[in-house]
Symmetry: C2
Subunit: 235 residues, 2 copies
């Protein structure tokens, strides 16, 4: 965060006006060899351009061309383990970052690494997601676009988060259970089926499908880039 | 969040140059009544000033006068219930806001309102503070000054938060127990002494004094303004 003091802006403005006017006056002198004419034109120019600059700025403030307002928002990706949430979220994060937007990325696995004791019971999942929602809403409130990728299996909890945030875009990464299980990138489905992991969403814990998401994306047959491109117009 | 497209910046620059040069050329014409002279001076002026403006900007980039870098940071207020943490935090928040800085204020009571089930056992307090610390560090990472007012009684937990954040200023609001109890603004000390509230810091739960805070502020004999003024120089 850099701030320019009022003094700096003032002195910089005067400095520019000084050199700009000197240039004009010198030009007039070089062409006409009349010092009084150079000084007169320079003096009037300095005065006129201050006024002109002011009106130029005011006019451009009214011109909307090329001025884009990007409201901060929360892009919330929900879906089964292995559905492609994190991969899409990372792609989206890079895409928005490359546009020099202020973006933060929150991911279930990364957050759980910092808080290893967070459990997977309904109550613990619920509290966990509510807290993440609060974090997301705070970031959003401060002008940051938040991308959140969490299984977040319960409709009620997602609704709580939606209400906390001003502008939450719910993205249901709806890759079917069978496909997620087939991929089983982290080997978790195999463990869950053997009973080595308890409360695993889709196996012995429910996933409540979002009732009314902004978009549903099934990654069975599409690439990360295609999935990201589907979300971009919503932002 | 507003963004100017490159196209807008370019066209605005050209627009300014056009009107500024027209003004110069008109001035020369009015004084000399020589149209060729006016055009010649205008043409050369437009070209020269583009170069001049560039070097003017580059030179000012090297001048540090009036340029203040404000690094985001976390101002963490710890102390007993009733020590004056929230009051100081609010004063500090208003002060920083009035300087048009990006500030967020996190307060124990307000956060617990949103998460009413958060308990007061050592483990629950500990997890709660760690999560708040994570939230603070995320905001800090995104360029926001965070003011956090939490009893946060355990040194180890405070250390965890300090490590999460890049730049945490620990403020120990060190108003003594006797004074906090005498004030008893929320009537909590009375309840705790009667055993109506369990795990109350200072009564039946310990407060571990910070070992090495940036500053200790005892509000027994000083006003909010004085307390805020003590913290400002640390930011």
């Amino acid at each position: 965060m850099f701030r320019e003091s009022n003094g700096r802006s003032l002195i910089k403005t005067l400095s520019w006006r000084f050199w700009a006017t000197i240039t004009t006056a010198l030009l007039v002198y070089i062409f006409t060899k009349k010092i009084e004419l150079a000084l007169a034109i320079g003096g009037i120019e300095a005065f006129l351009k201050l006024i002109l600059y002011y009106f130029h700025e005011r006019t451009w403030n009214k011109i909307s061309f090329g001025k884009k307002e990007i409201k901060p928002k929360v892009i919330w990706l929900t879906g089964l383990s292995g559905s492609g949430k994190s991969t899409i979220a990372e792609g989206l994060y890079k895409k928005l970052k490359s546009k020099e937007l202020k973006v933060e990325y929150l991911d279930g696995d990364r957050v759980r690494d910092i808080f290893p004791k967070t459990g997977f019971s309904k109550e613990e999942r619920d509290r966990h997601i509510r807290r993440i929602g609060f974090l997301a809403s705070m970031l959003e409130k401060n002008g940051i676009i938040v991308i959140a990728a969490f299984i977040s299996p319960y409709e009620e909890t997602r609704q709580f988060v939606k209400d906390l945030c001003s502008n939450l875009i719910e993205v249901h990464v709806s890759t079917p259970f069978a496909e997620c299980k087939r991929r089983d990138i982290k080997g978790l489905y195999a463990k869950a089926e053997k009973g080595e992991i308890k409360n695993f969403t889709g196996v012995d814990d429910p996933y409540e499908e979002p009732l009314n998401p902004k978009i549903r994306i099934d990654t069975t047959n599409i690439s990360v880039e295609e999935a990201v491109e589907k979300i971009i117009p919503l932002i």
